[in-house]
Amino acid sequence: MADDLKYGYKGAEPTQSFGNNTGVFDPNDINNLIADNKWTSFGQLELIETQTVSGVASVEFTNLKTDIYNVHFMTMSDYVPTTYGKIIKVQLAESGTYETASVYQFAEQYNGLSAGSASFGETKSTGTNSFNCFAQQTTTNGTNDSWNGYCYLYNLGDSSKYSFSTYQTSSTFVNSVQYYSVFGSSVLPQASQVDKIKIFSASGNITNASISLYGIRYS
């Protein structure tokens, strides 16, 4: 309903909630309801949290809103590690405790280019301690090097299902002499509810990165 009703009439205001909006709305009303998460818009890509960090040991997402979302989407921009040549690790927590054992599986294809020479290959494991979201390839911190990509995560909140990911990355490597793109998938083969995600370097800290976690409503 409009904030200022005409002709001095003001009736009883209905309760507004997601899936139950009643009245005539002007743009200001809609913006206010969106801000309050009360505006009905099915299928939203909803930002849960963005973390832009520098000089940290890890990035953690501790509010996954798995009661709302079956599928999550995560993006990473401008990831640079403090230590040269280390992979990005991702671990999932069950009941608050991170799974650090070598129980994760992944399979990924890398597509590389170095000084005009192409390099393609596969990397895989059925027993690693990282749930891959951004490739299990070494990252570097030279001039203009950065790691970028996205990841879809499935079933995090379903205690009866395994948690899966599919991902793609694009990066420069070794002082931008090399280029890598990677696509792949990963699984935590344990039927459990995941409640936290941690991203960190296999050694050292994260010099800088911007990582966003979204939920895909009604997927």
Partner: protein, 173 residues
Amino acid sequence: MAGQLIQVATETVTSAVASVTLTGIDSDDVYMLAFNQVIGSSGNNNLEMRVTESGTANSTSNYDFAHKKLDATGSFSNQSTTNNAEFQLNIQVGNDSAFFEENEGIVYIYNANNSSEYTFITTETVFLNPFSGGLNGSQGGAVFTSASAVDGLNIFFSSGNIASGTFTLYKVV
């Protein structure tokens, strides 16, 4: 609302059906299909897809696809066919939910509504292999080589029914 997804259609299968059809593509925007916990009624089949025109699946031999099968326990392989009767999203899918063999995946759809352009898709899927129990995935692309107005998608297994799963079509705006 830039950079948002708008849900166009969704279907959750709880009892076996031969296929799922989602329509509602009516603009030149990019569209996205998310499928979650999809499993067939019989094993060792491929998850496949056709486009719909005016709500009817097109089964002509106008589908070209190429994707890489990712396998944590075996060799990766290239999967490709031209002039096929459907898109192939992945291969050798199991049907036992007790062994967590459900499919998860994302498909982006390009140029579908444009009647003067071919319809392109990119795909990424993941599931557990019914034979090895290991992680399988597939990523690639495909094209429907007919300049026509596509208004939806028809998803099915190469044999048998879809036993369960959720399919949701979004418009990317």
